[in-house]
């Protein structure tokens, strides 16, 4: 495993080294040491590398990732794996707000808790959280899956489009236009697949599914007086 010391190379140095690698490069496994909570570590990767970051990271770690498997051995700051396209990002600790924001694809696994706005405006990513998520998670979530093994705080799935939310624990409250929906066999199958992919324990039957009531998609003429 090749090592990159962020203290010596700086964020730009570390990211440049990883950006220079292409599919089939000799060195596929990388260890980043001394992250010191710096921002934008391992952003914009575009090759099927295995990158391990030893320690806590700052904002936007693994953002825009394509193909790479990134493991953060610690906590992650705001916007981990934001706008990820494909690949995997795993956080062994907890994540701050807006984890997986606007991400189009790939799998984000947070072993601990995720704070507010987890999966905000997600566009196809699958997110599995081992612990609980904060308020406004799944806000304007468009597609993909958000699996929460713990509880969800206030206004889950506010203004949600077509993303599918699975929560095992309590939901403090649902946001506008988010409702509980029937868990059909295809949902149980998908949930089983996601939990297995994330390496999470959990009985799929214990989860409940939430999604869009689709009441906000079209203007309701009966509300005309409100404007």
């Amino acid at each position: 495993m090749a090592e990159l010391d962020l203290k010596q190379l700086g964020v730009r140095g570390v990211n440049s080294a990883l950006h220079g690698l292409v599919d089939g490069a000799n060195e596929q496994d990388w260890l980043i040491t001394n992250p010191m909570g710096q921002h934008a570590i391992a952003c914009g990767l575009d090759a099927p590398l295995n990158v391990t970051i030893k320690g806590h990271v700052g904002f936007y770690c693994g953002g825009m990732n394509q193909h790479a498997a990134i493991t953060i051995q610690g906590h992650a700051g705001v916007g981990v794996a934001e706008n990820m396209m494909s690949g995997r990002v795993r956080v062994t600790g907890s994540a701050s707000d807006s984890a997986g924001a606007t991400a189009h694809g790939g799998l984000l696994v947070i072993e601990g808790d995720a704070s507010s706005r987890c999966g905000i405006s997600m566009k196809g990513i699958d997110i599995v959280v081992g612990g609980s998520v904060g308020h406004m998670s799944g806000f304007m979530a468009q597609s993909g899956h958000l699996v929460v093994c713990g509880d969800a705080s206030d206004a889950l799935g506010d203004s949600i489009y077509e993303a599918i939310l699975f929560v095992r624990g309590d939901v403090s409250s649902l946001g506008a236009d988010c409702i509980e929906k029937e868990m059909r066999p295809e949902h149980l199958a998908k949930l089983t697949e996601l939990l297995a992919a994330a390496g999470m324990e959990g009985e799929p039957a214990e989860f409940r599914r939430y999604g869009s009531a689709r009441e906000l998609y079209n203007f309701d003429i009966d509300n005309a007086d409100a404007y």
């Binding site: 700051g77 507010s116 308020h135």
Partner: protein
Amino acid sequence: MCGIVGLYLKDRKLQASLGALFAPMLIEMTDRGPDSAGFAIYRDPVGDDQTKFSLASDDPGMEWTALCEGLEKALKCAARIEVQSDHAVLITGGEALAAQAWLGANCPDVRVVGSGRSIEIFKQTGLPKDVVEQFKLTSAQGSHAIGHTRMATESAVTTAGSHPFATGLDLCLVHNGSLSNHNDLRRELERGGIIFQTENDTEVAAGYMTAKLRQGLSLHEALEAGLVELDGFYTFCIGTADGFAVVRDPIACKHAVLAETEEWVAMATEYRAIAHLPGADTANIWEPEPHKIYTWGSVH
């Protein structure tokens, strides 16, 4: 934007290196606030019959010794003053309110930036590293400190508009965010006798806390009232005589992270400010929840 940091030392052995531990936290937040910086440090408590005033003046020829002698003579009490760049720490006997009134009447250009038994406040425009150097923060000893790096949004970049803002004896406040109802609140508080030095929104939050404490509310109660009446985005860190408090608005858009070990408790806008502390790697680290008040030390 803006960065806020706080460090409270549980292990007394670390007190000799408070400044050395705290200065890198403040400097790390330069990206979030390059316009001005400031900090409150709690050290060398004076006797029950004394008060410590942190003073600042824009006049390079300021005669601090004359000020001290004038006050001694007028109030018939012993006083001493220690100058630190364009700030000075005045320690005086006698009534705190009388001393404050005398300063207001006789030295109108001198700003009282803090007062209490152990608090000392220093703040200035410029990069955090320059402010750290100007007030010799790195060599400072003490029990705890809170600090702020400012990116100005709601009012001008001035020394007076820099944080921390004093809210009462040994109390001060730093703020990341912006308040949207500060003009209304300022007018209301002014009617209640609170005097403001700037157009700054954070000074209104500080004035609000001062007013609530004067009404007899505890700090915890004052913060709870603030959660209802202060409209806007904020993470506040409030320094107290022997600890600090942290509170975030109900939406919690403004970042904050807390970390605790056996030796210290730290608060920062971003974890990278805390990463410098010994044992940060293995500290208990979490994000403070919205609408919840966290406190360390006893909060009066």
